[in-house]
């Protein structure tokens, strides 16, 4: 098992490096002079020269590759001289210091922006995933167990629709149904924002009376405070829990529908395959109750591919978060990416893309390892 984990870790190193490199290169390919973008009207040749040397933009991008008058030029003879001293190595060095640069439009370090906005996305993703797993697995099991019944057909039609409906259409339609049509009923739900306007609440450090805490511990507490439902539970502010929860229902369903449909389909086909095996017939022939055969014998083996898909969905949810957060006005990573694209804040885009890429690689790594743990055959091959 240890050897398997080490091998998987080694495989993901080049991929991770590739992710960093792609993000770096994409950010360098952006048209336009970064100096003009940052200084605006104050950009003179002299001030630009100072700006470029201050931020290391006069160095080679990668060994031998120079940016001259916003065109990229490759000089073979310069490769040895710029092998160590170039923008890419400088970028790697700043990454090692957890420095992602400063956001121009928000006037703060990108890492700080990340810490402020990540909790929203994490919270949204968790609830979307819970929805996807609970509904998806249940639908898949019902569908497989009652194969070819009307419940099966209905479920699969529903799953097919779920994969096909765009997140932004589903989100807007749900907002209309729950905020307009059902207005005034007990089913009414807020269509945007994280809390009702004017809602006041205490952060975790305030509620616990530990406002003096600083450093990493404080960052963790602030992070948890920003996940409002977690905050509500930890500090017994149940009105906060309810209000934040009500605001999360629609976005979580909108975001979770595609993975839900995928999980339902995988659960169905995997369970159908397992239910056809000999040992299931043996168990049935022994006279075991059908429910017991399903839960104890079939489900255990059928869940392997489902676990993989659940893991892969986590990363896929991050893409959907861009659309979901934009529609429902949630200030998370997704909305930040969208805002930075509109305001051309490339440093932020670069940081967010890197973060998502790394999360993606790490999640896939965990999925692979957990798969090896669940199914010994994977380890050997």
């Amino acid at each position: 098992m240890i050897r398997f984990i080490i091998r998987r870790l080694l495989v993901s190193i080049p991929v991770l490096f590739g992710v960093v490199f792609i993000v770096f290169i994409l950010a360098r390919l952006v048209p336009g002079d970064p100096c003009v973008a940052a200084l605006g009207e104050r950009a003179t040749p002299a001030s630009c020269a100072a700006f470029n040397s201050r931020f290391g933009l006069d160095k080679a991008v990668i060994p031998g590759l120079f940016r001259e008058n916003s065109a990229l030029v490759f000089r073979l003879d310069q490769v040895p001289a710029t092998l160590v001293d170039n923008q890419f190595t400088a970028y790697l060095a700043s990454l090692a210091r957890f420095d992602l640069g400063d956001s121009v439009s928000n006037r703060k370090p990108v890492t700080q922006l990340l810490l402020e906005r990540l909790p929203t996305t994490v919270e949204l993703t968790i609830y979307a995933l819970i929805f996807a797993i609970v509904v998806g697995v249940s639908l898949g099991v019902i569908s497989a167990y009652r194969r070819n019944s009307s419940a099966d057909v209905g479920t699969m039609v529903f799953a097919n629709l779920g994969v096909s409906i765009p997140v932004f259409v589903l989100g807007l339609v749900m907002a209309y149904v729950f905020a307009v049509i059902l207005k005034g009923t007990i089913f009414a739900l807020p269509p945007s924002g994280r809390l009702s306007p004017g809602f006041r609440f205490e952060t975790i450090p305030e509620a616990w009376g530990v406002e003096g805490v600083t450093g990493p511990l404080r960052s963790i507490l602030d992070f948890l405070s920003n996940m409002y439902t977690v905050n509500g539970v930890l500090t017994f502010q149940f009105d906060l829990l309810i209000d934040a929860g009500r605001h999360l229902i629609l976005p979580a369903i909108a975001l979770g529908t595609i993975p839900m449909a995928i999980i339902a389909r995988i659960t169905r086909s995997s369970l159908l395959e397992v239910l056809g095996r000999d040992y299931i017939r043996t168990a049935q022939a022994k006279g075991l109750r059908p429910r017991l055969v399903l839960v104890r014998h079939a489900m255990r083996n059928a869940m392997l591919p489902v676990v993989t898909i659940i893991g892969l969905s986590v990363a896929g949810l991050l893409s959907g978060a861009v659309l979901t957060e934009t529609i429902f006005g949630l200030t998370g990573i997704g909305l930040t990416v969208f805002e930075s694209i509109t305001s051309r804040d490339y440093i932020v885009i670069q940081g967010m893309a890197l973060l998502v890429g790394i999360i993606y690689v790490v999640v896939n790594l965990i999925v692979d390892i957990s798969y090896g743990y669940l199914d010994p055959r994977v380890r050997v091959s």
Binding site: L26, P166, F168, L312, L318, A353, N364
Partner: protein
């Protein structure tokens, strides 16, 4: 085969198709007979037939868009029609709408353009987007996959690691970043979505190539002095066609969906082009007052994606006899 680093939907499709790629047993049946049998199997799949019907309908709408549409798609009705103003609700004469008012089956949008005509013309845009994007991705992906599988060793490792890196980003996010770099317009968005889907086709082709590379009939062709290109074209690629067709059909749905998402964020199709994603994005704040402006293009978009997904699933089951039970 490892599924490390992949977008779930993409990985699913790639893996699904990949495991079923290649195999010499199809050669047993005569080619014509096999094709007939495949068509018959396809028509037995209820979902595939539904998908085919919807796609057929979409093509008809796209081809005859000028005939079906009641108005030019980009024409504002203000000043041309009595009482025309932005976002008036649908007006259908036989349903009791006063005859002195202009007939608009789905009402007018924010620029007082006929929504029905725009939705009809949108089918053209979306079908072109789907087919063009996937064609580009298939050509590049097939080349990469074929070269990787045929040459093997270091070339293979290098190319496929490159594909892994591409798969290491959520598809939409990578497309978003590429569009930002290239500039926001429809062609760049299609290019970005195509790039993101290249690994799927590369993987499918590569695994087909690997599965037949060592077959006797390929060795025989080589012994007869056939060139590598001819072997690839005549002996290897026919085996890769089936999984590629399936991947492409599913890919069209994905491409339409992703380009529409980029358009919704106003990063792809630009006004006044009648593209469904753009139409939804432009009017998204009107969901509470004029929901039909979002529902009409939304339903069409969902139907299109659904149809290609259904057909793709059906094709996969029909073209692969080993799966039929």
């Amino acid at each position: 085969m490892t599924n490390l680093q992949s977008d779930p939907l993409h990985a699913l499709k790639a893996a699904d198709v990949e495991t079923r790629a290649g195999g010499p047993d199809a050669a047993v049946e005569s080619r014509l007979g096999a094709r007939k049998a495949s068509v018959r199997r396809l028509l037995r799949q209820r979902s595939a037939v539904v998908g085919l019907i919807i796609i057929g309908g979409l093509f008809l709408v796209a081809i005859f868009a000028d005939v079906i549409a009641t108005h030019p798609p980009n024409l504002s009705m203000i000043g041309r029609e009595e009482g025309a103003r932005p976002r008036i609700p649908p007006c259908i004469h036989i349903l009791g709408c006063p005859a002195d008012q202009g007939q608009h089956l789905l009402g007018l949008d924010g620029n007082a353009r006929d929504v029905f005509s725009r939705v009809v013309h949108g089918s053209r845009v979306s079908l072109v987007i789907g087919f063009a994007t996937v064609s580009f991705a298939i050509i590049v992906g097939t080349l990469i996959g074929a070269v990787a599988g045929f040459l093997g060793n270091k070339t293979d490792g290098l190319l496929m690691r490159g594909m892994d890196v591409l798969l290491a980003f959520p598809a939409l996010l990578l497309a978003l970043v590429i569009v930002t770099v290239l500039g926001a317009n429809l062609v760049n968005a299609m290019f970005a979505v195509a790039i993101v889907s290249i690994p799927i086709y590369a993987r499918v082709t590569r695994s087909s190539v690997l599965s037949v590379r060592e077959q006797d009939y390929v060795t025989a062709a080589r012994a007869l002095g056939d060139s590598s290109w001819n072997i690839l074209r005549r002996r290897v690629m026919p085996n890769a066609i089936t999984p590629l067709i399936v991947a492409a059909t599913l890919g069209i749905g994905t491409a339409v969906l992703e380009v529409a998402a980029l358009s919704f964020l106003s990063l792809a199709a630009q006004p006044p082009l009648a593209e469904w994603g753009t139409m939804i994005g432009n009017e998204r704040n009107q969901i509470f007052t004029s929901p039909i402006l979002i529902l009409a293009p939304g339903v069409m978009l969902t139907l299109t994606v659904l149809a290609f997904n259904l057909l793709g699933d059906g094709l996969r089951d029909a073209l692969d006899p080993r799966l039929s039970r």
